[in-house]
C-alpha cells in the first residue's frame, strides 16, 4: 500500500476517458411465463458518461440484474436500444466485463488460470498475458495466492479475484451485479474501498447493481433508483462529491435517508398513524 502513488481526489468530470459511453433508449424486456408476457423492464432511458460510476438500487424484482444481463449481451431478446460508444450491443464482447454476486471462478482452475482464461480470446499477445495477469492479481491485493484454488479462498478474496478477472481484459464498461451482496459487513466495507481505489486507477465506466443504498452512494457518481413491476427508473440522484469519499459525509447520509424513504414508500403525512395521548418531551 505504501508504494502506491498518491491518487489525487478528482471528480468524474475531469480527466474522463474517451470511450465507455453507454446509452439505453426505450429499453424494454418481457419474459414469457406460462404463455403470458410478463414485463420486467419498461422504457428505460439512460445515458452514462465515459468513466462514470453509476449505481442502481431498487427493490428485488425490479429487473436490475436482468438489465445487466442485457447490457453484457447474455440476453439479446429485448426491445429498444443499448449502445456502447454508439455501437449497438448484439452479444457478449471483451469490451464489457461483468462481476456476478457469486464469484463464478471455475473451481477446477487456480486463481491465475481463472484470470488468464479471460484473455483466451483477447488480442493481447500471448507472451504479455502472464505479466498482465500478475499485475491484476496485485491490483486486487492477492499476490501470493496465484496457485490457490477457489475453494481455498475466502469469500472476499474470491470476489476480489472475480473483479480482477473482469478487469484483466481492460473493458471500457464494467458491470457489477451485486458484487458484494454475499459478503459479511466488514469484508464488504473493505472491498468497497478497494473497488473505489481500483476504479480511480482504471477509470472505466462502471454500472453497479446493489441493494445496499449506502454502498450505492459511497461509490456512485449517480444513483439510479428503480421501481418494480415492471422495472423502470424512478429517480436519478446526483452524488456531487469527489472521490475518494468519506463514509461519514453528511451529504451521503442525507441522500441515504432520502433514497431509503423513497424505496420503502415515503410515509405520507395523511396516512401516518397518530398515537393517542403522546407525552410531550
Amino acid at each position: 500500500m505504501t508504494a502506491q502513488p498518491r491518487i489525487q481526489p478528482q471528480s468524474a468530470a475531469t480527466d474522463a476517458p474517451a470511450s465507455g459511453a453507454l446509452t439505453l433508449s426505450a429499453l424494454s424486456k418481457r419474459f414469457a411465463i406460462e404463455g403470458r408476457a410478463l414485463p420486467v423492464l419498461d422504457g428505460i432511458d439512460l445515458s452514462v458518461r465515459p468513466g462514470e460510476f453509476v449505481s442502481i438500487v431498487g427493490a428485488s424484482g425490479c429487473g436490475k440484474s436482468t438489465l445487466l444481463r442485457l447490457i453484457v449481451g447474455l440476453d439479446t431478446d429485448y426491445s429498444g436500444e443499448i449502445r456502447l460508444d454508439g455501437k449497438r450491443i448484439t452479444g457478449t464482447s471483451l469490451d464489457r466485463g461483468i462481476v456476478f454476486q457469486d464469484h463464478r471462478l471455475f473451481p477446477w482452475m487456480t486463481l491465475e488460470e481463472n484470470i488468464g482464461l479471460a484473455l483466451l480470446n483477447s488480442e493481447i499477445p500471448k507472451e504479455q498475458r502472464a505479466r498482465i495477469v500478475c499485475e491484476h492479481i496485485a491490483l486486487v491485493n492477492l499476490t501470493g495466492f496465484e496457485k490457490a484454488y477457489p475453494h481455498q479462498l475466502s469469500g472476499g478474496m474470491a470476489q476480489r479475484a472475480a473483479i480482477a478477472r473482469a478487469l484483466v481484459t481492460e473493458p471500457t464498461l464494467l458491470l457489477l451485479d451485486e458484487p458484494l451482496g454475499a459478503l459479511d459487513a466488514l469484508t464488504r466495507v473493505h472491498v468497497q474501498t478497494e473497488l473505489q481505489r481500483i476504479w480511480m486507477r482504471q477509470r472505466s465506466t462502471v454500472l453497479m447493481v446493489t441493494h445496499d443504498v449506502e454502498e450505492a452512494l459511497y461509490l456512485g457518481d449517480r444513483v439510479i433508483v428503480m421501481a418494480p413491476n415492471p422495472g423502470r427508473i424512478r429517480r436519478i440522484v446526483d452524488v456531487d462529491l469527489p472521490h475518494p469519499r468519506d463514509r461519514s459525509s453528511p451529504v451521503l447520509h442525507r441522500l441515504r435517508d432520502e433514497i431509503l424513504a423513497e424505496l420503502t414508500g415515503a410515509p405520507d403525512p395523511e396516512n401516518l398513524v397518530r398515537f393517542p395521548a403522546q407525552e410531550p418531551r
Partner: protein, 255 residues
C-alpha cells in the same frame, strides 16, 4: 482415524475374524472339511500354483483382458456420452435405445453373443466392453448435461468458441461424474471378465481356472483364484481412487 496404520489394522479385523471362523468350520470334520478347505491346504496350493507360474499367467491374462475391454468400452462410452450431451439429435436418436438396452443383464446377452462370435476372445471383449460402456456413457452424459448455467455464462462473456468451451469448461466441470462412471466401469469390467472366463471357458485366466477347478472338485484352487481376484480388484480400485483424488484435487476435502 486417518493415519494409515490404525486404518489398515481396522480394515483387517473382519477378514481375520472370517479366517478364524473358517478354521473352526474346517476343523469340524466330516463333509465340512470338503467345503471349508483348511487354510494350510489353501496356502500350499497357492505356493504350488505361484511357483509353477500358472497363477501369474492367469492373473496377467485376466488383467490384460479386463484392461482391453475397459479401454474399448470406456472410450466408446465417453465418446457417446459427450455426443449425447452436446448434440441433441444424437441424444434423440440413440438415447432411447441406449436406455432400453442397458436394462438387459449382460448374462442375458451371453447365449446370443456366443452364437454370433463363438466363445473366443472377441465375444469376451464385447461383454467386458459393454460392462464398462454403460456406466461411462451415463456418467459422461450426466456430467456434461448438468454443467451449471452460471459457468456457461462466464464462457459466453469471454467469447469461448466450441472447442474452448469443451476443453476449459464442459470437460473439467463434468470430470467428477465422468470419473464416477469410470469407477463403476472398472468394477463392472472386472466382474464381467471373471464371469465370461468362467462361462466361456477357453482362453485361460483366473475365471477359466475357477471353472476347470470346479469340474475337478478342487475347492482349494477355486479359493486361491477367488482370493487373487479379490485382491487384484481391490488394488485396481484403490489405485484408481488415488488417481481420481489427484485429478479432482481442486474440489478440496469435502468435510
Amino acid at each position: 482415524m486417518n493415519r494409515p496404520l490404525p486404518r489398515i489394522a481396522l480394515g483387517l479385523i473382519v477378514p481375520a475374524l472370517i479366517l478364524v471362523w473358517w478354521t473352526v468350520q474346517s476343523n469340524a470334520g466330516g463333509a465340512r472339511a470338503l467345503a471349508f478347505v483348511p487354510l494350510g491346504t489353501i496356502a500350499a496350493t497357492f505356493a504350488d500354483l505361484a511357483t509353477g507360474g500358472l497363477l501369474l499367467g492367469d492373473a496377467l491374462t485376466t488383467l490384460s483382458r479386463a484392461v482391453t475391454g475397459l479401454l474399448l468400452g470406456g472410450i466408446a462410452g465417453i465418446a457417446l456420452g459427450v455426443a449425447m450431451a452436446t448434440l441433441r439429435p444424437v441424444d434423440r436418436l440413440v438415447g432411447p435405445i441406449y436406455h432400453a438396452v442397458r436394462q438387459v443383464p449382460l448374462l442375458g446377452w451371453l447365449p446370443l453373443i456366443g452364437l454370433w462370435l463363438g466363445n473366443g476372445e472377441s465375444a469376451k471383449l464385447l461383454i467386458i466392453g459393454l460392462a464398462a460402456f454403460y456406466p461411462t456413457v451415463l456418467g459422461t452424459y450426466e456430467g456434461i448435461a448438468h454443467v451449471e448455467r452460471r459457468y456457461l455464462d462466464v464462457g459466453r462473456v469471454y467469447g469461448f468458441g466450441a472447442v474452448q468451451r469443451f476443453r476449459h469448461l464442459l470437460l473439467p466441470a463434468a470430470l467428477p461424474l465422468i470419473l464416477t462412471g469410470i469407477t463403476q466401469a472398472i468394477a463392472f469390467a472386472w466382474i464381467a471378465t471373471i464371469g465370461v472366463e468362467i462361462l466361456l471357458g477357453a482362453g485361460g485366466g483366473l475365471g477359466a481356472t475357477m471353472g476347470i477347478a470346479q469340474a475337478q472338485q478342487r475347492m482349494d484352487i477355486i479359493l486361491v483364484a477367488i482370493a487373487v481376484t479379490a485382491l487384484l480388484g481391490f488394488a485396481i480400485n484403490h489405485l484408481f481412487a488415488r488417481l481420481r483424488g489427484h485429478l479432482l484435487r481442486w474440489q478440496g476435502n469435502p468435510a
